[in-house]
Amino acid sequence: MSLKIQNLQVKAQNKLIIKGVSLEIKPGEIVALMGPNGSGKSSLANALAGNPIYKIIGGKASMDGKNLLNLKPHERVKAGLFLAWQNPIAVSGVSVESLLRMAVLNCRQRRCRTVCAFREELEREAVKLKINKSWLNRGINVGFSGGEKKKLELLQLLLLKPKYAVLDEIDSGLDIDSLKLLAKIRQPEQGILLITHYTRVFKYLKPSKVLVMKQGRIAASGGRELIKKIEKDGYGKFN
């Protein structure tokens, strides 16, 4: 049981941007993926989610033994993979509630849910995240601040209850209170790939493994001791 990537190679716009990456996340485990801008972290996240811009040209990716790469994007979500976007996309006219209702209907086993029951659950989770109820009727990510968009990503994470979540820079834009909240609301069985630039998030979400990515490759991997090294020296020394 794990989310497992082996020697994955990814091209975008005819350029090789992920040059053979391997990693594994077990249920309940937090794996941190760090690295400078443009090192390929978000590309990896998008490739896992099945973004058609990214073409997989080699390697494997599986979730609990199931090959992810021949699943369509929505089938990967149904199988239990969730991507929290670095820059969530605004879709005007599609309300937070209507998107989430459809998403939940598609992804959960238990299907016979009334609209009211769903709305109640949505509001309950929103309260946890200190999300104003009025947001739920607004267009998804339309006119929200960076931090608010991140909270909406967390709301979706809460409702979809994935087995594995890829959190792409979820900490940028979120205030300390929300970061604490993120640690609190996490389901213990969830495996998390935590992509980040900054080390402050580790105060609340403690990774068991830390990977450093540079130029499409894993340049270093280790335990939490790597975090201190990065805080001290930056990414320059990894090659």
């Binding site: 989610a49 369509k72 929505h74 996309i89 879709v91 006219g93 599609v94 459809m102």
Partner: protein, 436 residues
């Protein structure tokens, strides 16, 4: 043609002034050229058109000749079998009279007149005469002249001062109008501080054997009155639809146009509001869905004459399978219309490689103390938006449908509920069949 017009007038037992108006209009029609913009109308053979049929002789066609696609759409929309037959032009009896009788009587007690134009012209000629073809001038264009010359059918609504009707009036269902007519004229007089919502048409495909439709709608919104006029147009794909709609809005009156154009082969429709009185307001919401072989040229005009007037146009058009849409609009603010506010937002969504969308916005502003905004967007469904929704567990078709629904939302949410539901279903139908 002159003798035909005399015959129409005689059959309808019209007063002399109406016949004179028709004959004058005919002269204008014969002199005027076709419009020099929009879809090519040169194919219209005015001699071949049947301008008038007495209702009794309207021919029926058999259910088996109704195109399969129309039948499928009816089924998709969940239209009851009995209504399907009427909509398809099969011409079965459709007795809506009983259903609406009690409502009609209630209206009557309030002094509301709600009847067919043919009836009105005989019963209330003095009420009609000062308004008929006064919002839309006969010589506005070749087709307004043609309409005035050969019009028949349509609806007359009169609202006395202060009367507010909560339930929307639906001519098509309430008055049991047979297929809406070809040159129907609808006239609405809303006296001071009255309020009305009127729904024209229906969202199911309506079969018509007539290839040219030129209806006119004239609305007179008196001081502080409010009128909302919703049109759902879904003529069969053989029809050229050149309807005109125009409202004159007096002091502090409010006019709202909501239009959804789904059917017809060619449509040219630009509802107009003339904001005559100070503080008059108008909102124009329009949605066009053009599929294969369709050319929908729609938009709106707002003319600001009074001070502190405000007008909003929101137009959404979608084309797919080489359908074509165009937004054509005009906002005019005359000198002296101080503090006028105008806002235009026209967006087009292009589905499929061969579909086309065009935008022709115009603003003529003669006054400096105004606020005028214009926004336009044309494009395909963004891959990013699509993938974002798919990364939430939605299939491509579901994501497409949600995006298209979202695109139309600003207009659809203002349609009467049952129509909004049907249009949402149609959009799902679009999403399933789009070859994006």
């Amino acid at each position: 043609m002159e003798s035909l017009i005399k015959q129409i007038s005689k059959t309808k037992h019209e007063p002399k002034w109406m016949l004179e108006l028709r004959l004058e209009a005919l002269k204008i029609f014969q002199k005027m050229p076709l419009p020099r913009f929009g879809p090519d109308l040169a194919e219209i053979d005015f001699k071949a058109i049947k301008y008038f049929k007495e209702p009794k002789t309207a021919t029926k066609r058999s259910w088996s000749r109704v195109p399969q696609k129309t039948k499928e759409t009816f089924a998709k929309l969940g239209i009851p079998q009995a209504e399907r037959r009427v909509l398809a032009g099969v011409g079965a009896q459709w007795d809506s009279g009983i259903i609406y009788q009690s409502l009609k009587e209630k209206l009557k007690k309030q002094g509301v007149i709600f009847c067919s134009m043919d009836e009105a012209i005989q019963e209330y000629p003095e009420l009609i005469r000062p308004y008929f073809m006064k919002a839309i001038a006969m010589d506005n264009n070749k087709f307004s002249a043609l309409h005035a010359a050969v019009w028949s059918g349509g609806v007359f609504v009169y609202l006395p001062e202060g009367v507010k009707i909560k339930q929307p009036l639906e001519g098509f269902f309430w008055l049991n109008l047979k297929q809406g007519g070809q040159f129907e004229h609808t006239l609405i007089l809303a006296e001071k501080a009255s309020q009305l919502e009127y729904i024209e048409g229906c969202s199911a495909p309506v079969y018509s054997q007539n290839s040219l439709h030129v209806g006119c709608v004239e609305v007179f919104v008196k001081e502080k009155a409010r009128v909302k006029f919703s049109t759902i147009q879904n003529w069969s794909k053989n029809v050229i639809n050149l309807g005109m709609k125009r409202a004159i809005v007096e002091k502090a009156g409010v006019m709202q146009w909501v239009s959804a154009a789904l059917g017809s082969r060619i449509t040219m429709s630009y509802p107009t509001s003339i904001l005559k009185g100070d503080g008059a307001k108008t909102t124009h919401l329009s949605l066009s869905l053009a599929d294969q072989g369709q050319e929908l040229d729609t938009g709106g005009q707002i003319i600001h004459l009074g001070e502190d007037t405000s007008g909003t146009i929101i137009s959404k058009s979608i084309c797919q399978n080489n359908g074509r849409t165009a937004y054509r609009g005009l906002v005019k603010i005359i000198k002296g219309a101080k503090k006028a506010k105008a806002s235009v937002n026209c967006d087009s969504l292009i589905l499929g490689k061969k579909s086309r969308a065009a935008t022709f916005p115009a603003m003529e502003i003669g006054e400096s103390d105004v606020v005028a905004l214009h926004e336009a967007k044309t494009g395909k469904i963004s891959e990013e938006e699509l993938f974002y929704l798919m990364s939430r567990g939605l299939s491509e078709a579901e994501a497409t449908s949600l995006i298209i629904n979202g695109f139309c939302e600003a207009v659809v949410k203002n349609l009467p509920l049952e129509y909004a539901v049907e249009i949402n279903r149609l959009i799902d139908f679009y999403a399933e069949h789009s070859e994006n």
